[in-house]
Symmetry: C2
């Protein structure tokens, strides 16, 4: 398994479907890095082109991996060590290609039902469990820009429970998706 | 399915295993109520005896169910309408008994492997899918007080991925557990 996770802050939509760069939610860094560590991901990329937002991520990471937090909570250190920042998805793909020797299969996630390259959890699970790099990425705010979805190799089917309600937080969605794809 | 969720802020442990009442994390209210709504839970109880903390929960709930948030984001309203506050687990059980005509089966969750009444996800899933009330509850801070675990009918097995790391946030754990117990 050569699994990577990405959390995209640009380009995403706001409530009015304008294209924006969303703000970092620091709890996302903690929650999703702990999920990444639990399910043995090799890296968790936080994607934003904004300098002050990248600095915020590095400050949180630094506190828990080198600063006081590292000795206060070593479990958190193990998780946050997986965090890297990147300007763009392209940069993430290039970094994975450099590290693994081949470009990753890119699977976008989205709460809406898109026509086209939707794959189910079973097929995605098969892919993740091969020895090829796979990058699964999540949007923030009101979701990934359409072009990002179009450029992905696949889009994962949305999460549903027994109802039609599918408005999970990205933290909850990332947890459930990793469990479905990698969990025992 | 007559499923209820509880999030316990007292009695829980702090890092030094003193018994404390933990502070409310407002994002827990949002994330876990959205999980509850997605998986068709009938209620989400936030348990704390502290008056100012109960008031905080009511303020968040009020904003999203009656205030500006209700029209701004109706999906969030649907989720937060499930939220109720209670002083104690006993009060929660009594409320469910009053509503459903019988006391709930109580399933605690804990990241540690406890001897005794551990049940697996399969058995818990069978229980949840019967027409008996079931209350699944989660601890905050460094976990549920031992007495609470002892008084539960069952303790759910911890979540593991392919590694021995099991330090998920309560938000991620609640999402994964509900998906495993109720998800399609």
């Amino acid at each position: 398994m050569l699994l990577y996770i990405g959390l995209v802050h640009y380009p995403v939509y706001n409530k009015n479907y304008d294209i924006i760069a969303s703000a970092i939610t620091t709890l996302d860094i903690h929650d999703i890095s702990r999920v990444a560590r639990t399910y043995n991901a090799k890296g968790f990329f936080i994607i934003t082109p904004l300098a002050d937002q990248k600095e915020l991520v590095q400050r949180v990471k630094g506190h828990w991996t080198e600063g006081y937090g590292a000795s206060y909570n070593p479990d958190r250190k193990e998780a946050l060590e997986l965090v890297q920042v990147a300007d763009t998805l392209e940069e993430v793909k290039e970094e994975i290609r450099r590290k693994e020797g081949e470009a990753p299969v890119c699977i976008a996630t989205d709460a809406s039902k898109l026509a086209g390259k939707i794959i189910g959890f079973d097929k995605a699970r098969d892919m993740v469990n091969q020895s090829i790099p796979v990058l699964i990425f999540f949007g923030t705010a009101w979701g990934l820009h359409r072009q990002v979805l179009e450029e992905a190799d696949y889009v994962l089917e949305p999460i549903y429970g027994p109802t039609e309600y599918n408005h999970l937080s990205v933290r909850a969605a990332a947890a459930i998706i990793l469990d479905r794809l990698v969990g025992r």
